[in-house]
């Protein structure tokens, strides 16, 4: 590899590490909440009135949710890329492109949905 070529690793790696921390802190409790919904016990904060009330008027809440979703998506995409490689799928460029584009599209969609509330 040429010496002058700059590595893109920090750009990919930082959101991955941040996302790993965000997933660790937030996804278990969020998954617990939606598991309650799946079991038919909808918490007050997850009803339409409740969640809409939280998110519709508070830009900070929107940004927090967007940050959690976007970073988690990016981190998962990066980890899935490594997972594919570890399971013997040696088409890394294709896998990385597909997963990173999916993560970006998901993040953009989340942003659009949140600010359309």
């Amino acid at each position: 590899m040429a010496q002058s070529k700059k590595s893109n690793k920090p750009v990919v790696w930082f959101p991955f590490a941040a996302g790993g921390t965000v997933i660790a802190f937030f996804i278990p409790v969020i998954a617990l909440l939606t598991l309650m919904v799946a079991l038919g016990k909808v918490p007050a904060g997850l009803t339409y009135a409740g969640l809409h009330g939280w998110l519709a008027d508070c830009v900070l809440a929107k940004l927090a949710v967007l940050g959690i979703v976007a970073l988690s998506l990016w981190s998962s995409a990066h980890r899935l890329r490594c997972t594919c490689f570890d399971f013997g799928l040696r088409i890394d460029t294709l896998v990385a492109t597909v997963l990173y584009i999916a993560a970006m599209l998901g993040s953009i969609a989340a942003g659009v949905f949140l600010f359309r509330l």
Partner: protein, 130 residues
């Protein structure tokens, strides 16, 4: 004469059966599949919420299918496994030095667990679970 370096042949798709440590590594890798799928589900949930009351409530109803319950249990376990292994790794990944001494690893990991529990309880309170 070919100058082939000494390379051990490693089976690319089944190498992790060679050692329990590799299996633990791979089981943690697989959690990313469930967490990633769960994040996609969250995006769809936000989409349903943006679509109005009716679309959101049909989304909530769709979550109650047996398949969805099974997926949520799997995603919850995967997220827990990711979280505990992540916090256990912090003491290796982020060493904190005060003066001459390093802060003990158990303190760093323990602090993460405390913050995790406090954050989770706050979110459950805000969501009106208690």
């Amino acid at each position: 004469m070919s100058q082939k370096p000494l390379i051990r042949e490693v089976p690319p798709a089944s190498w992790y059966f060679r050692h329990p440590r590799y299996l633990r590594y791979m089981s943690r890798e697989i959690t990313s599949l469930f967490v990633g799928a769960y994040c996609v589900l969250l995006v769809f949930g936000l989409g349903a919420l943006a679509g109005g009351k009716e679309s959101y409530e049909s989304f909530l109803l769709a979550l109650q299918s047996p398949l969805s319950i099974a997926f949520h249990v799997a995603a919850f376990i995967a997220a827990l496994y990711h979280a505990t292994t992540w916090f256990n790794a912090t003491q290796v990944a982020m060493k904190i030095q005060i003066g001459e001494e390093f802060v003990p690893g158990s303190t760093i990991t323990g602090a993460h667990y405390v913050i995790w529990v406090v954050l989770s309880v706050i979110i459950l309170l805000l969501a009106g679970v208690f």
